[in-house]
Structures are given as structure tokens and as C-alpha cells.
Amino acid sequence: MTPPSGVGGLARPHRILLVEDDPAEARLLEEAFELAGGGVTLERAADGEAALARLRSGGDRIDLLLLPLHLPGPGGRELLAELKGSPETRRIPALVLSSGGSEADVLATWDAHANAFLRKPGNLDDLAALAGSIRRFWLRSVQLPG
């Protein structure tokens, strides 16, 4: 693959769109990615509509989407259905990151073509470990859609 470079082992800087209504939660995740090695810009959309508007507006390419199950307004599952049903957004990898969710929620998320379902850890150390795994797999090992 690519040799380690100036952005914490990533071949280029990456941009992740995080759908999150709580700015403090977003900052925590940002810190987790920093602790995991950086090289990642986290952009926040406060709800599903803002996320869709951002993705459809052009602008810098989004490499990866992180979305929760529960959102103000239409929920994560509705957002996922919209993303994965639309030719302009369906190929962007969408990882559901949720601190809750029943077994039925997990199943419905996979059935709606989420690229993966992740449990959101409650503390920064575990969140940084998860961010590290996302970086090593999605940003270093996987071919992202162009």
C-alpha cells in the first residue's frame, strides 16, 4: 500500500462527515481521532437533512460517514435509507455509530445497507481505540469509492 507519510500513516488527509446534534459529542470524537493519529478532518452535520444537503452540495469529498441511530427529526434509519437509495450518495461508506439500539435496530441497520454497525464506547480511551481501528481499516486498507 502507501508508505507512512506526514499525516499519521495516511497517504492523504481524509474527511469524515459526522452526523451529530451534540457539539460536545462531536468534539469528543474529534479528540479520539486526534489521539488515534490525526490526519482526519471531522465535519459535523447537526441532523439528517443537513447531512444530505452537505453531500449534495459538492464541496470537499467526504470519504466516510458516521451516523447515529437516533437523531432529531428523521432518525438515523431514515437517513440511511435515503443515503443508500440515492445514486449520488449510496456508494459513500456509512458507518452507524450508536451507544444504544436493540437487536431489532441492529438488524434493521444492516438490512438498510449500512456498511457497518459499531457500538459507541462511553469513554475516550475506548473511543480512541475504535477511531484507530476505523483509521487503520477504512483509511489505510480499503479502496474508497472515488
Partner: protein
């Protein structure tokens, strides 16, 4: 069909280490279906997954038709468990990996199974088309052994240790 079938079937060497193994009921082995026609590539993947800390069992399909027969429990594969994860090559005899992907993701009883494309192809058209067909991710196998093992380690860490798989 079970990888390394001269040995007793069972989990690879790794055993639960008391760490984060939240996604499976305790004691259950993760079932992985590897669809790959090249014996060399099968062996490499098998070796890489033996290092995994999550107990797993690798099943082999040598072409796309065999993969579909296994997934649909057709004879003689009735006893093969439904996989938790599919590793899918694209260029396969009989039925091609792209067709397998399309069939799996169009089938309401199979589409929830994560499909990881593991191929030598790095063609932009393949990457786009497979994501459009709802492949869960796309990996171009690196040629060098060390790089391959490092990718497989990242795969194992993400898919076997961190992801919450669909309940069975």
C-alpha cells in the same frame, strides 16, 4: 470445504482473551465464508486469520455457484452454518463475484451479511460498481506478504473485534 480440512474442524488457534469481544454470544465461533478460486490466496487468508484473537472458522467456496449453494443451504451444503461474514473475490469461475454480490444483496434473507470484497482488481469501475451494489467494503489485495498481513490484521481488528454483526 472447511479450510485446512485435513485437520479437525474447529476454531483457529486464537482463543478469547477476555478483551473486547462483544459481538458474539460467548463461546460462539465466528463463521467466515471465503469465496476464492486460487488455492494460494486461500492459504494466505487462512494463515492470516489463524492469527486472529477472535475464534473463527473459515469455509471455502471455490466459485460463485458454490458460494450461492452454501448460502442457500442447498445439498450437499445443508450443514454448513450461515456465515457471519463473506470474503468475496471478484474474478471467479462459473459465477462471477459481482453476480454473487448482486444476488446476496438483493435477497432479503442474505443481504444483512457483510460482504468484504477481497480481490486483485484495483479498477475504478469495479470499486464503484461493487459499492453501488452495497458491498460493505472493497479491498485490493496488496502483492507483498507483509502488506497483505497488515491489511488482514486491520480487517480482523475492525470486522471481528469492533463491529456488531447482525444477530443470527
Amino acid at each position: 470445504m472447511l479450510a485446512g480440512d485435513d485437520a479437525a474442524p474447529g476454531p483457529a488457534d486464537g482463543s478469547p482473551d477476555g478483551g473486547r469481544l462483544p459481538q458474539l454470544e460467548s463461546g460462539r465461533v465466528m463463521e467466515i465464508l471465503h469465496v476464492e478460486d486460487s488455492p494460494g490466496d486461500r492459504l494466505l487468508t487462512e494463515e492470516a486469520l489463524k492469527e486472529a484473537t477472535v475464534p473463527n472458522r473459515l469455509w471455502i467456496a471455490k466459485d460463485g455457484e458454490e458460494a450461492m449453494a452454501i448460502l442457500r443451504h442447498e445439498p450437499p451444503f445443508g450443514d454448513v452454518p450461515r456465515p457471519d461474514l463473506i470474503l468475496l473475490d471478484l474474478n471467479l469461475p462459473r459465477k462471477d463475484g459481482r453476480e454473487v454480490l448482486a444476488e446476496v444483496k438483493a435477497d432479503p434473507s442474505l443481504r444483512r451479511i457483510p460482504v468484504i470484497i477481497l480481490t486483485t482488481s484495483s479498477a475504478e469501475a469495479d470499486i464503484r460498481r461493487t459499492y453501488d451494489l452495497h458491498a460493505n467494503c472493497y479491498i485490493t489485495k496488496p502483492v507483498g506478504l507483509d502488506q497483505f498481513l497488515s491489511v488482514m490484521k486491520a480487517l480482523e481488528e475492525f470486522w471481528l473485534r469492533n463491529v456488531t454483526l447482525p444477530p443470527r
